[in-house]
Subunit: 418 residues, 4 copies
């Protein structure tokens, strides 16, 4: 035996033709060798190991250190289950389609930058969805067209719409995984979802995803869990406060960088601070994608550490607050905050900071609104009855399904002791 020539990799067991990852949420996730495994092994995908799923939420829920790598594998796992269930019910899904929809879900978040969405609103001018497509195109070139069908499904350009709906829709494998996973790692058990039951109840009619009638209570619980996760976790006051501070920190840094200020941050990050990059630019010059692919959460965290020692008050104040978890207060209300409430806060703060011009003060008080992702009556979940008829969920559900989207106004500002 020549073990020297063996090709097995340590963390993975070859069973049949599959590799196994330990996943605390589902037990084991199997990845078939071939294109799927090669994509997982690609540096673009490995980079997702270094990007936390929930950005700064770990400042509120200390367990929330899971990353987009795990989420992508988990969503792929659920997709494999869904495909198996649908085929067992007689839905025709070719091998090529099964592979393609697997690739589509695996790469659906490949364009995410560090710290979740925070950078999208500060140092770059494109969305992670746009970037995901750019990454897919690049990988498609590299793999000589093997991703063609996956990209069509991702863009909803394939005839079998239900495949796209499994990637992106009311009951897609993305949501199914992130709710479960975020619940597991935050410890907010109210977000756990009966994914197993829901997937077993999936079927297809007229090329659209439907859910068997028996699954209706699981669907209601899923919608309820999602609403709860929004307000309890994703839009949690303290978590949102940290994100707003981070956004403001990098907006400020970029502003100063554009004015010529030199920062001791990573070589890749510095370029995004000093130059405006929008989608058109990123698409045109491949260098931007390569640079972006080098960024991960550590570039941001090291930048925060280095900003602490900067002269600029706003930069240093925000950075030090983030580093040592001295976060701003955030208030939510269902109506907007009157101007004099915000003025009152600013006055107190200016006094405290001895900031006569209020230049700094203005940069340290944030207003805005947040709304949760709610059930979309434009894009209904379809329920399949035993007599083979199909109805939209909203017409038959007992409850109101959290259809109503909730909008909340917030104001966020430094804690000021009396």
């Amino acid at each position: 035996m020549s073990i020297l020539n063996a090709i097995l990799d340590g963390h993975i067991s070859t069973m049949g033709r599959k590799k196994i990852f330990n996943d605390p949420v589902y037990g084991f996730v199997e990845i078939p060798y071939g294109i799927i495994f090669d994509l997982v092994d690609h540096p673009f995908f490995q980079r997702l190991r270094r990007i936390r799923q929930l950005g700064l939420t770990n400042l509120v829920y200390p367990g929330a250190n899971h990353n987009r790598f795990q989420h992508a594998l988990g969503a792929y796992y659920l997709m494999s289950k869904a495909i198996r269930v649908l085929r067992a019910k007689g839905v025709t899904i070719s091998e090529a389609e099964a592979e393609a929809v697997g690739i589509a879900i695996l790469l659906h978040d490949i364009g995410h930058g560090p710290q979740s969405h925070a950078l999208e609103h500060s140092i770059v001018s494109f969305s992670h969805e746009e970037l995901s497509l750019l990454f897919m195109d690049r990988l498609n070139q590299e793999y000589e067209g093997r991703l063609d069908l996956a990209i069509k499904i991702f863009k909803d350009e394939h005839s079998k719409r239900f495949l796209h709906q499994l990637v992106s829709g009311q009951l897609d494998m993305d949501r199914m995984d992130y709710l479960n996973r975020d619940s597991y790692f935050t410890g907010v058990i109210e977000g756990r979802v009966g994914y197993d039951r829901i997937i077993k109840m999936l079927d297809v009619r007229d090329n659209e995803l439907v859910v068997e009638e028996k699954g209706i209570y699981s669907i209601e619980q899923f919608l309820s869990a999602r609403r709860i996760m929004y307000w309890q976790v994703y839009l949690h006051k303290t978590s949102l406060s940290a994100e707003l501070m981070l956004i403001q920190l990098f907006k400020r840094a970029k502003e100063l960088a554009r004015k010529g200020k030199k920062f001791d941050v990573s070589a890749s990050l510095v370029q995004f601070l000093e130059e405006d990059v929008d989608f058109a630019k990123a698409k045109e010059d491949p260098k931007w994608l390569d640079l972006f692919a080098k960024l991960d959460d550590c570039d941001i965290q090291m930048a925060i550490k280095s900003f602490i020692d900067q002269d600029d008050f706003v930069l240093s104040y925000l950075a030090s607050g983030l580093q040592n978890r001295q976060l701003f207060r955030l208030e939510y209300k269902k109506t907007s905050f009157p101007k004099d409430y915000s003025d009152q806060i600013k006055n107190k703060l200016a006094l405290k900071l001895k900031d006569t011009t209020k230049d700094n003060t203005d940069l340290l008080v944030f207003n805005g609104t947040q709304t949760n992702l709610s059930y979309n009556s434009q894009q209904e979940i379809s329920i399949l009855f035993k007599d083979n008829s199909v109805s939209p969920l909203s017409q038959i559900a007992d409850s109101e399904l959290g259809i109503k989207q909730i909008k909340k106004y917030y104001i966020c500002y430094p804690k000021i002791k009396a």
Copy 2:
């Protein structure tokens, strides 16, 4: 109402006089306001948020991104339980002692550097235990002697030995928490421990911790779980391989830095590369503790990224392997590897690398041994019987308790395709 003056922090609910952290492992962890909370809030302790509990193990178990902050809170939680159980059984523990043992367990790992133990063996010349004491002394100064008793307990200098044993012993709250926690986040369910039962069975006789007879099977399972976690997780081949690569990478970097090479790494890290710091030095000049306290996992990860582009072949080869998860092969054996096996590997490798002098080759093949932490017959677990007699576990257990310590030889080297 003047919410502006409220002192509540968002992620925490004041109940009575306690703050609550969500912990996916135990549900909720309560921290009393006062010195305990102040220590948790201290930048030294907040830093533990940025240091993963299991270093590079997440390259093998993708879920293993939990950090030392969570572990310290979890161990504190178990300690509170243990104190409550012991008091209910009539063991005298004063308020001051309860607080002190709480502080001791909270800070037991405060001296850990980034990437778990890897740095201890490469860029600095002291252990995390030594550093933990240095941190405690510093905090004790800051809190004007409030940590005196905690430090005595930590050093086993307090008359009630069982308090020290709860912090560091065969059944301490440290192990109880990390086995459970590492099991939860890796998904290796074999490591889960019946901590609840074990803690409920604790008692004290002659100032020593004992376990009621009824807990004996839980103890056996605990010892078995620990042994399994060692070989399945802590000393997992791929995980050890990554750690050895990291150690070698930083030894090399330090060697080059000592020779004058300048690296683009963080300001704090660079000082530890360019200068030899041992415990005496760290103790003498407080600047080293402050510098060390600025280091976290990101300093290391950013250094890895920057080493990829270095000219030095060994540096670049190791860094790029770690970044993109192209890890070395590691073989374990119960006997040592014969010299010609290692020579054979080196020859193949030198050929492949076109390394005629074998200078690089020698730096890329590692030999050594590993042993698991086993049941220590020097420091026995004592079992309490209904007739109030006490016996050491080894005399009464049905099984062999994994008393035998296992030593394994390893060899670790780059994967070489035929």
Copy 3:
């Protein structure tokens, strides 16, 4: 040592002054020695071991074999937690009150007869609530008034209303336990409730139970979980069908027994078949309580087995269906079933059964309605804000809380093959 004289019982560990039960839902449930333990040890309470919590639901959910004994201990466990939380927040609860509210929750279901509610609607003419009070009175005599306060709290006659609300109210420990427990044993994970969080958020204002604002999403999830458990489990079609069959079976048996028919059923059961017993009668003559206390699920199951061989067609048909799980079809609708739908079923059935007079057929087709326990706007959950103000939940919740009570019409009849 004389182990012969030891008083320890095998399944229980004396820790301090408590006994421990293993509970798969919460881990360990501790019962203090004294009156609480004596009540648990009483034959009236031990009898609950032989009465399943969910009657015939195990025909639908095979895991649902848990009994009222476990539920009562579990609810007691949650009550102990709630008392600890409230006291820590400064709510005054005397030792006597804590014991009394513990007794009240322990005994809240003591009057339950076998097969859950089915017997209440067929062979006896009183409710389990009435009987619970009768049992408590009897035990109170036996323990010479030690249950006085517990009974006052149970009846809502004690000045501290919140204690009654913990036993019976929107957020009582009864519901909190049964939702969790039924979820655990049925495997319907959608019913799991964040009991830990909710209990930690409880407080008292103006003698009424309130919930801190931070608990609001947990409350919403609790209400959603409860609604789901109603339709997915408690009023599940097949489960309801089995219960209706059982009720009809025993109504029929009683009718025949009243006419002089002798059945080979247990000595206790036979008396309830041959005589009409209402609450007044049960209250007057203590023999009825003693007889009732001898009944458990097995009396019913053995009766079913013996009815199979009876001549009466209805009796034998229903008994054999229950024994071999050949259950009737049940249809639910939100509107009532038109008479000719029901006639059509009866005609088909009569034809099949060759039942020209339709005497049997009429006894084998059941109509009725069911409604779920919904949020009661008469008896609101109160939310406590940081500024110490209190509002009813319905005024501030984002969602509609499942306030709407759902009523469903059902028709239930034998499955008839074409």
Copy 4:
């Protein structure tokens, strides 16, 4: 639509060609329509719903009310997984073989009588294994030979030995399920087994089941968990005490019945009390199998209730102890109890019972031994290495595997207050 003619049963969803059972241990268990489903639906199998898996263990672990029906479905579920894994690794298993091994595991416990093993040692003179084969033969007649191959596999007469090993062997699906299931329902988490990992590691070499090297720690944990479950649950002192009391109760009843005493117990049970039935007799006259198939736990529990009021002191004493959970004390030792220890107990007891002849006393003190099921070095688990070599586990394991079988002596007698 004619819902009247639908064939769907309420608790089961037809998906593709499968029925789904909710199982709290695994989530969902799928049963294919056809012979497998027909067997599950058969009264012989439905009877398993009324036989608890762990007999009287629920007197110690209140959650242990699960039955053999659930266990059989669970073992079938694991078998389906194992077959899928083996086929994916290239092991040839025909459709007929897959069905047969599924039937074999489903029916492996079909011969179990009520109260687990207790009756086998008192009122009948055959083992449940013998009876399982008798039931299979009867079903095979009914299904006209469809069970031929299943029976061959069950008896280890099929050429592919590994199929038999999956049903009955060191790592069979029976054990894998009952350890997990008993752990789930008792709450003894130390018994949980990494079944998922173990099954994924199964393979076949030379017609024998082997386990991939990577699974070795899971195997060790499995063996350790099993040993713990034996002493913590299956042979728990109080649980064994209850079983011994039950055996003695029915031996006594049978003795009296054989002498002409008439008991008020069920019609089926009475025949086994009044007549000696051994395997030969049961095989010869099919009436005995039919009678046996009518027995379930309730026949026994009702008999206990009726024995309470019997004149015979031993009968009444044992019955009343079992009914109200006043169980005998049981002591375990690793050496036999000296005669004078037992005499001392009997003397005290006789004094207390005023039993001058000691006739009753002798019937109320039990001696004996128990041994746990241990790793059988005669029938080794084989480990498969990457180089395709196979070794017996005992040669390579780090630990001693609990190979040593533990024998314990017990003495069991009524609790006697001083």
